[in-house]
Amino acid sequence: MDLNMVCFIMFGFLFTVYLILEGFDYGAGMLLPLGERPESERRAIVDALAPVWEGNQVWLIVAVAVLFATFPQVYATLFSGLYPIVLLIVVALILRGAAFEFRNRDTGQRWRNFWDWAIFCGSVIPAGLWGGVLAGLLKGLPLDGAMQYRGAFGGLINLYTLAGGAVFTLIFLLHGLVYLTLRMEPQVQWTEKGLVAGKYALFAVTGFALLTFVYTDMPARPVAGGMLAASLPAVALCGRCLANGRPAWSLIFSTAAIALITAAIFTGLFPRFIISSLHPDGSLGIYDAAANPFTLRLMAAAMAVVLPLALLFEGWKYHIFRQKVNAPAAGFESRRQLWRQLHDRLAELIAASYHIRTVLQQAKQVLHAGRKMQKDKKLRPGTVKPNQIRQFRLSIRRGHHLAQLIARVLEILRK
């Protein structure tokens, strides 16, 4: 095994860990706004993801940075070639990240709905697109001899890449449902949905595997083909364990399924990185697309030191957040925020009402003591100080706020 191979494997490892960790994240995110889900459940899903999503997404950043360092040619060709896809993924991830932070900052229905859909899009889009990109790498991209992407941006869309996208989306959905079953209380409804998703995922993986043997040179590569075939029983076992009430095993099998499919694709690529569909020798390989040996050695050494520590740190994080998220409690927390806001606004209104009283008293005084006040140039009859008017306006606005808040609380209570 030489340096280029080590770096290729390490990149594959980083990307696979990203897909495994963000896989359940994306899967759970896809469920968030669908089907009349009550706020308590939505809040619980967000609570189950919020502490961990960032530490999961960082694996993507690390993978991309390592790709940039070790295989700059692949990095440049792939991302400039797939420009609109990268744009979509990045925008989706931006909105997704922002959503986790902003969603619970306000109690408004529209505000939360918007961010829930942002999480949904931010989960479906990267899941589908990365699946499509991986499939595209294996099937071949229109690269000319000079490592440039030739062809329309729509050229990536074909039956095989669509199947790749569907397979990753569905398997992430299954993965996410298994994660929620494991992390949330009560878990019954997740199990049922998980079984349905499991069936579709099994169907999709079968279809994808068949298409792979038709469209790519997988039949000539027994190791990669074997891995792909092994992902089928993994998905089946995942559903089986879920049905038998053993979600921990189920999670292991869904993880294995994602790892096997990704590993099959990378093994199928080896020693090529991007297969060219135009020229047989236009493909980018791990030798001609790599950086100089010094850089490769440095990166391999750095990863050998850092990755075990990173995995340990991730493990500690999941150990800290091992406690199950209770949906009714999360709903309670969400409602408590609303009550607290109501309480604050009420206190503000009481304070404001004193200002209204002062303003009215002032006005009364002014009207009563007409002549006397005229001597005071600053305060003519019928006038009040500007800041009192401001207070008055403010109190009206606060009254408006309060009415809105009460309406919102009543709406929630009715539910």
């Binding site: 919020a50 502490p51 961990v52 999503w53 960032e54 530490g55 997404q57 960082v58 993507l60 950043i61 690390v62 991309v64 940075a65 390592v66 940039f68 360092a69 070790t70 700059p72 040619q73 990095y75 440049a76 060709t77 991302f79 400039s80 420009y83 990268v86 744009l87 993924i89 990045v90 925008v91 991830l93 931006i94 909105l95 990240g97 922002a98 986790f100 932070e101 902003f102 900052r105 440039q148 992407y149 030739r150 941006f153 950086a291 100089n292 010094f294 850089t295 440095l298 750095a302 850092v306 990173a310 740190f313 991730e314 994080k317 800290i320 957040f321 406690q323 607290r340 806001q341 604050d344």
Partner: protein, 454 residues
Amino acid sequence: MDHTVLNLARLQFGVTLTYHFWFVALTLGLSVLIALMETHYVQTGDTGSKVMAKFWGKLFLVNYTVGIVTGLVNAFQFGTNWPGYSRFAGSVIGSLFAFEALTAFFVESVAIGIWVYGWDKISGRAHLAVIWLVAVAGNYSAFWILSANSFMQHPMGYALNHGRVEMNDLAALLTNPYLFYQYVHTILSGLVVTGYFVMAVSAYYLLRREHVPLFRRSFKLGLACALAAVIFTAVSGHFYNRYIASVQPMKMAASEALWETAAPAPFAVVAVIDEDNRRNTYQMALPAGLSLLVHSSPRAAVKGLNELQAEYEGQYGPGDYIPAVTILFWSFRIMVGIGLWLVLLTAVLGWYWWKRQLECRPALLKATLWNLPLSYVAVTMGWIMTEMGRQPWVLYGLLPTAEGVTRGVPAAVVGTSLLIYAAVYGGVAWAAVYAGRRILLDGPEPGQAIDGWQ
């Protein structure tokens, strides 16, 4: 050659990075202040400090998240818009980014989740260690990113093989003197922004007479931070500029709009610049000012743009090596002007604080509110000067910017992506302001006992 793609790609890079830095500049310093607050809480058991750390933590998180999501773009942007540059320098720039991601960003992203949601899941000391990890990793990651930037400004530790730059000496890369000056100056200016941010938010509450003990203390912390940082920012800026004069004389001459070599060289305070004819139509200058600033001697010669242009043509072949003089000239002056003004203002604030009269002077409290945007303007101008002064090079002396940009992507696509990013960033900024306002209105966590805490 058509420059539309080049200009759009440059604009996109500039806009996305500047926007990213606004949030990063704040979080670098604020994370340290929050860590200090929590340290105080853990050591003395003072709940007030905990409330403080939690409150600032909320504002920190809004900024941090926007910083993270806008930073995402940069992991991909080098590939999408600058494949030529990525192929040429991937071995160095990519490695530095990979080191940043592996050693700093990894730790930071895992730790931040633990810090925010782990208040009552781990022990106080472990939680304190986690916020220190966030603070240290954040500032450490800035080191790697700036090492990449300083390589672009002043390449070191590489060899030119196979028509590309190959890293062969990591130690040389990391001991680049440019990195030293740039890192110190950037971190310090970030602390000034942080100080003013903390003071402005505290002043908002002090003016409304709400949560006074808590924000009196926050204000003090912000003031101490700003006071220490603003002076050293100015000092480090001075030495940084002298260093630039030695390694990037073109940038320095352009930022001073000095066309002809002069001994002694005057320091132009105001100038009307005629870039086409390479001269200033009008200038108000301090005689020998520039010679004094750069060489500490009233008679020293400073090379002008025209002589440097001739030198560069001899070295690199024909071409235009003069950056956008007008922009550099004014961005430098605005940055320095604001910097000096903030030194003065911070000193006045410090003086009245010392006399314990600050809170009875609402005008001064309001001044911190009004001057917060200025600190952001100053750091933005600093980056504009650094990056536009590097032009026409993307790797100084090695690769012109025009050769680094993509060739396969049509201008319409780059333009569209710029518009989309601008719209998304605008929306995220709006949401951040809205969420920040919400946090300010809600105030620090109520219901926590901070009675009798002054």
